[in-house]
């Protein structure tokens, strides 16, 4: 909402209030001022008269002037083509501050110049605000007889001394999109009296009419129309044009200008039809029109079912609430008109306006909601102005469809309720005086005050808390004390999944991984190439772009993107992870994605290097799960047969827990990495919901055996498809509780080993919790294990 302070000052005495103070008060009362625009800017301006004007000897366009400013005569060099002797001009004296900078005494091509003769444009006035015949378009401004040499109130006299505030209006105050309501609001904010023009009942004139109105849509519940048979089209008076200009509205002629002006004043968009274009004397609002229609901007729009259209004789004559039609608009020779003041459903207007991409002042006001009596007020005001400014004659009585939806009502609030909600001690005087400032009728009954709500505040003031807000807003609030809620104590703690996330983050951070946050919305390729998606991807109805069309169903491609970005920026050893929700049409899941490229440890000083590979990630995941209370054993590993398109088929695996897939991980498939220009990437995706829903093992203190343990090694030659996991399982099965630990500590293939075979060295530690094992005891179990290994895996001892 553009708020012209000059216009405002015609309703409120702003004496003694600078724009800074006004803005400060507005902000305090809940109005944010987005920008301040000075219609013109310039200090040290004075009226001068060019008493001599000669051509500059060294220039084909500069003039040398002697300009009389009363107190002295200045030498000023001027480049304007219209500069001539006898002209009254605006002189910016040395030291003047203009939008383009400060004026300094100087020498221009060898000639002294002590000031500047100004165009209005040089004073910051927008070209669009200048009258069409203004000399300032192409030269310096030429002042008329109102100005005397030595005058300094130039901008005021020209009417360009306005300051325009761009005020953002919250959705609960659409009334403030009307100048009259805004003026009332400003009166309340500044605590000053407001005088608005009287126009109630001005439309109650006119002869009998046979004009007919109808609405065939529930989205147009109220419509006023009035025929004015005779008007005179001409230029609007200067004051009206100035107010429109200050609001950035283009001036056309008195008729169009009045319709725009009344909208600015009352908030109600009006439309004037040329009387000749509706010969049937009938208007019907419909919402079932389909087809193309050319609006008064000359552009053809595609109208669909649901859009509100104004029709006559079944033919469209305007897009309701958004823009009038090309076939019915006011023309230069218009001599009679029909006034439309209607209420259209805000949601429907917003839908149509958004779909057509047609954002007009009218549509914005309808979309934000009008006050219930706006149609009647605007009709009264329009008639008043047409009579005054357009010599309106031969009016017909107002035709009405429906009725304004407003029943006067009151809100009762008690001081006790007010003070209990806010935590302050307002007095009745304070409460009532705020209502008075808002020009709301208010009476006191015991501990309560009862406020009558006028139509223009009906959108916003509905319940006692709304009244409380007005009091908070318009009184000093900085002295509110700080307390804490006095309610029963509660225990705050992280939920299970929140705890799991923190464990994971600490674990990975301490091992060199970076926590990342990636975008949820991804392109189609990321969906097609997802890891174990749980269903079909969810698509946006109107995405920002194809790159952000779908909700991702897996994390891998986002992490690959982050990885590629880092590689492209010459970063090395990139180990990233992300914890995020992923969605399909039927599921919500939380996943952990881990990506590794290069080395996890790359320590030059100690020559430590741990290159990321299948086993590094496998071990990290095992230890991570262990730290969450899920040991291997409960978690089993199996060959990856779920996704061999993105994973290397022989260097990837799946962790299962409680017969669910817990994680898939391993080396990514070279074919998938190739087009991404990536070489060797290790990736894992973990289903965190599986961890969240499972019960972790209880923490139990380990029993440390008081008896010594005995360590034995075995070296075997086996076929190379024998799995270490199967051997270790067998060892545990045979040795039972006597096997304290068993591990493979060396695997060798190559020289001296037959093709298709491998040499495997195992270490087994034996321990009996009841007694010291003798070497006979150890031999007995060790022999048994060895024999089983030899037999079961067709192995040879080395």
């Amino acid at each position: 909402m553009k708020l012209s302070l000059k216009w405002l000052s015609s309703f409120i005495d702003l004496e003694g209030l600078g724009s800074d103070e006004i803005i400060r008060q507005m902000v305090k009362c809940g109005f944010e001022v987005e920008s301040v625009e000075y219609m013109s800017q310039g200090t040290d301006l004075i009226v001068g008269k060019v008493i001599e004007c000669k051509d500059h000897p060294d220039s084909d366009h500069l003039h040398l002037t002697k300009t009389d400013i009363g107190k002295e005569v200045l030498d000023i060099v001027c480049g304007a083509p219209n500069c001539r002797e006898g002209l009254k001009v605006i002189v910016a004296q040395v030291g003047a501050k203009l939008p383009g900078g400060e004026i300094k005494a100087g020498v221009i091509r060898g000639q002294v110049s002590n000031g500047m003769l100004c165009s209005l444009k040089e004073l910051g006035i927008d070209e669009n605000l200048l009258p069409e015949d203004s000399p300032s378009h192409n030269g310096i401004e030429e002042l008329d007889d109102r100005f005397e040499v030595g005058d300094t109130d130039i901008l005021e006299k020209l009417g360009y001394d306005d300051t325009i505030l761009d005020v953002s209006i919250y959705a609960n105050r659409p009334d403030c999109l009307s100048m009259f309501a805004m003026a009332k609001e400003m009166g309340a904010i500044l605590n000053r009296e407001v005088r608005l023009p009287e126009f109630a009942g001005k439309a109650d004139v006119g002869k009998k009419t046979d004009f007919r109105l109808d609405s065939r849509s529930a989205n147009c519940p109220h419509f006023l129309a009035k025929v004015v048979n005779k008007v005179t089209i001409k230029e609007s008076p200067e004051w009206l044009k100035q107010h429109l200009k200050a609001n950035g509205v283009k001036c056309i002629n008195n008729l169009v200008d009045i319709s725009n002006y009344v909208m600015l004043e009352t908030g109600q968009p009006l439309h004037f039809y040329d009387l000749r274009s509706i010969p049937a004397k009938e208007i019907t609002v419909v919402d079932d029109y389909e087809g193309n229609y050319t609006a008064l901007d000359g552009i053809e729009y595609k109208i669909e079912k649901g859009d509100l259209m104004i029709t006559s004789e079944g033919k469209p004559i305007g897009i309701a609430g958004i823009m009038g039609g090309d076939n019915t608009k006011i023309l230069d020779d218009t001599t009679g008109l029909i006034i439309e003041a209607a209420l259209f459903d805000h949601a429907q207007i917003r839908r149509t306006s958004n779909r057509l991409g047609l954002q007009t002042e009218a549509a914005a006001r309808f979309a934000k909601g009008l006050e219930p009596l706006a149609q009647n007020k605007a009709m009264d005001r329009a008639v008043q102005l047409l009579l005054e400014l357009a010599d309106a004659e031969d009016l017909e009585e107002t035709v009405e469809y429906g009725k304004a939806q407003y029943e006067p009502y009151e809100i009762k609030e008690s001081l006790a309720h007010l003070n209990a909600l806010i935590g302050k001690e307002y007095t009745m005087d304070e409460a009532v005086s705020v209502m008075k400032r808002l020009s709301l009728d208010c009476r006191v009954e015991g501990d309560s005050f009862i406020t009558s709500i006028p139509s223009y505040r009906a959108n916003d003031l509905k319940i006692p808390e709304d009244i409380d807000e007005e009091i908070v807003r318009l009184t000093d609030f900085d002295d509110l004390r700080s307390t804490l809620p006095l309610i029963p104590q509660t225990v705050g703690k992280l939920s299970n999944i929140q705890h799991i996330r923190r464990v994971i983050r600490d674990f990975l951070r301490n091992r060199g991984f970076y926590d990342t946050v990636n975008y949820t919305l991804v392109n189609e390729k990321y969906i097609n190439e997802a890891i174990l998606p749980s269903g079909e991807a969810v698509e946006m109805i109107s995405p920002l772009s194809d790159a952000r069309r779908y909700i991702r169903t897996s994390l891998m491609n986002s992490l690959l993107e982050a990885l590629s970005y880092n590689i492209d920026h010459n970063n090395v050893n990139i180990n990233l992870y992300e914890i995020s929700k992923v969605y399909t049409k039927v599921t919500e899941e939380e996943r952990l994605g881990i990506i590794m490229e290069g080395s996890l440890i790359d320590e030059k000083v100690k020559h430590l290097n741990l290159k990321a590979d299948f086993y590094v990630l496998k071990g990290l995941l095992e230890e991570l799960f262990d730290s969450l209370g899920f040991e291997m054993g409960r978690i089993t590993i199996k060959q990856n047969d779920l996704d061999t398109k993105h994973f290397h088929p022989y260097q990837s695996a799946v962790f299962m827990m409680d017969s669910q897939v817990l994680a898939i991980f391993g080396r990514l498939h070279p074919n998938y990495l190739k087009p991404l220009k990536l070489q060797d990437v290790i990736y894992g995706e973990v289903m965190l919901d599986v961890l969240d829903k499972a019960n972790p093992a209880k923490v139990k203190a380990p029993v440390i055996s008081r008896y010594p343990s005995v360590s034995r090694d075995i070296s075997l030659m086996l076929k190379d498809d024998v799995k270490a996991g199967d051997m270790l399982a067998l060892i545990r099965k045979v040795g039972r509780q006597l096997v304290k630990s068993a591990e493979v500590f060396d695997v060798y293939q190559g020289e001296h080993i037959e093709e298709g075979y491998k040499s495997v060295s195992l270490n087994i530690v034996y321990e009996d919790k009841e007694k010291t094992m003798t070497s006979e005891d150890v031999n007995a179990v060790h022999e048994k294990i060895l024999n089983e290994l030899l037999e079961k895996f067709e192995a040879r001892q080395r």
């Binding site: 609960n172 709304d466 809620p485 949820t520």
Partner: protein, 341 residues
């Protein structure tokens, strides 16, 4: 007698000049079974019974003196050897060390965890909800029915006519209200990702994070809201920060306030961060609208509550001096490396 004194002087002189090999030799020369002390003892046999004890005592004193001198010398020699060894092991302490490399937590995670910890400390729980939401929780229950002008304030990603990517974590609050209506009081914070149809630039992101807070109970006041937010701001930014309320509008609170904090850079004197005002806009808040309570089945004549919401990006950017919101979503490890603590 003179004999003993001479032996002593000779021995002590020799000890004082000995190296470790010579010291071992001297030990044999004087203290072994065939050493000089032992041979003195042998002389005792030639003495009278009266002289024997006296002489014996003197020899013992002599033996002790030599033995002690030897031990002292030995210690001295060992110490100097150790010193020499240590000196030979001198290293350059300024050389690069083995430094186990830590990763980092994302700045948004850091801010979220810090907020969680502040509020858990005050007895709040941390609630979450789906990012793919029904418009009922995102809007309707937040006092923003269909066609409400406030739906205009946030251009939302719809996936079908009634489902969307949530545009505000208020949706979580509405779920908590519904679930906990029978278990008052409620004290929760609701962190999470939200989405709006904004083009990404230095200050806008179509995806960002919010953390909202909600307290419902008896006799909750705006003053309680102020006290709570003041504590939060002081924990997150600066111990002596102050806040002020500016009237504002949100559909689900009444009255509503924007909250400014004193600038954490200049302390309120005015600087470029706060554009010279001394204040920084940090969050939105208000008293839960009675309609919202009633829709959740909570008696609004008995219970009141406050709600607030803060943007995690905004907090992170202010706290860490981040100037481009896109840096938070690029995941460049050179950037992430700056958040080790």
């Amino acid at each position: 007698m003179l004999d003993l004194e001479t032996i002593k002087n000779e021995a002590l002189n020799a000890i004082s000049e000995a190296d470790s090999t010579a010291l071992e030799q001297l030990r044999i020369e004087y203290l072994s079974k065939k050493g000089k002390i032992q041979s003195l003892m042998a002389q005792m046999r030639e003495l009278s019974a009266e002289e024997k004890p006296q002489f014996g005592q003197k020899v013992n004193v002599l033996k002790k003196a030599i033995s002690e001198a030897m031990d002292a010398k030995k210690n001295e020699l060992e110490e100097s050897m150790m010193n020499a060894r240590l000196a030979s092991e001198k290293i350059d302490i300024t050389l690069d060390a083995y430094r186990p490399k830590l990763g980092t937590l994302h700045p948004l995670t850091l801010v979220q965890q810090e907020l969680e910890d502040v509020f858990i400390g005050m007895g709040y729980n941390v609630a979450e909800g789906p990012e793919l939401e029904s418009d009922i929780y995102n809007f309707t229950k937040a006092n923003t029915p269909e066609g409400h002008p406030a739906r205009d304030m946030q251009d939302t990603f719809y996936v079908d006519p009634s489902h969307l990517l949530r545009s505000q974590t208020t949706a979580i609050q509405m779920r908590v209200l519904e679930a906990e209506a029978g278990h008052l009081p409620i004290k929760v914070i609701c962190p999470g990702k939200v989405y709006r149809r904004d083009d990404d630039d230095a200050t806008h992101s179509h995806q960002f994070m919010q953390c909202e807070g909600l307290v419902i109970g008896e006799h909750i006041t705006v003053a309680d809201l102020k006290g709570t937010l003041e504590l939060m701001i002081r924990e997150m930014f600066s111990k002596d920060a102050k806040i002020r309320f500016r009237p504002s509008y949100f559909p689900f609170t009444e009255p509503s306030f924007e909250v400014d904090m004193t600038c954490h850079i200049c302390g309120g004197k005015g600087c470029s961060t706060c554009k010279g005002t001394g204040w920084i806009e940090i969050l939105g808040s208000g008293m839960v609208h009675p309609n919202v309570l009633e829709m959740a089945g909570i008696d609004s004549s008995k219970y009141t509550g406050f709600a607030f919401g803060v943007g995690l990006e905004r907090v992170a950017m202010l706290k860490y001096g981040i100037t481009d919101i896109r840096d938070l979503y690029t995941n460049d490890i050179r950037f992430l490396d700056g958040f080790k603590r």
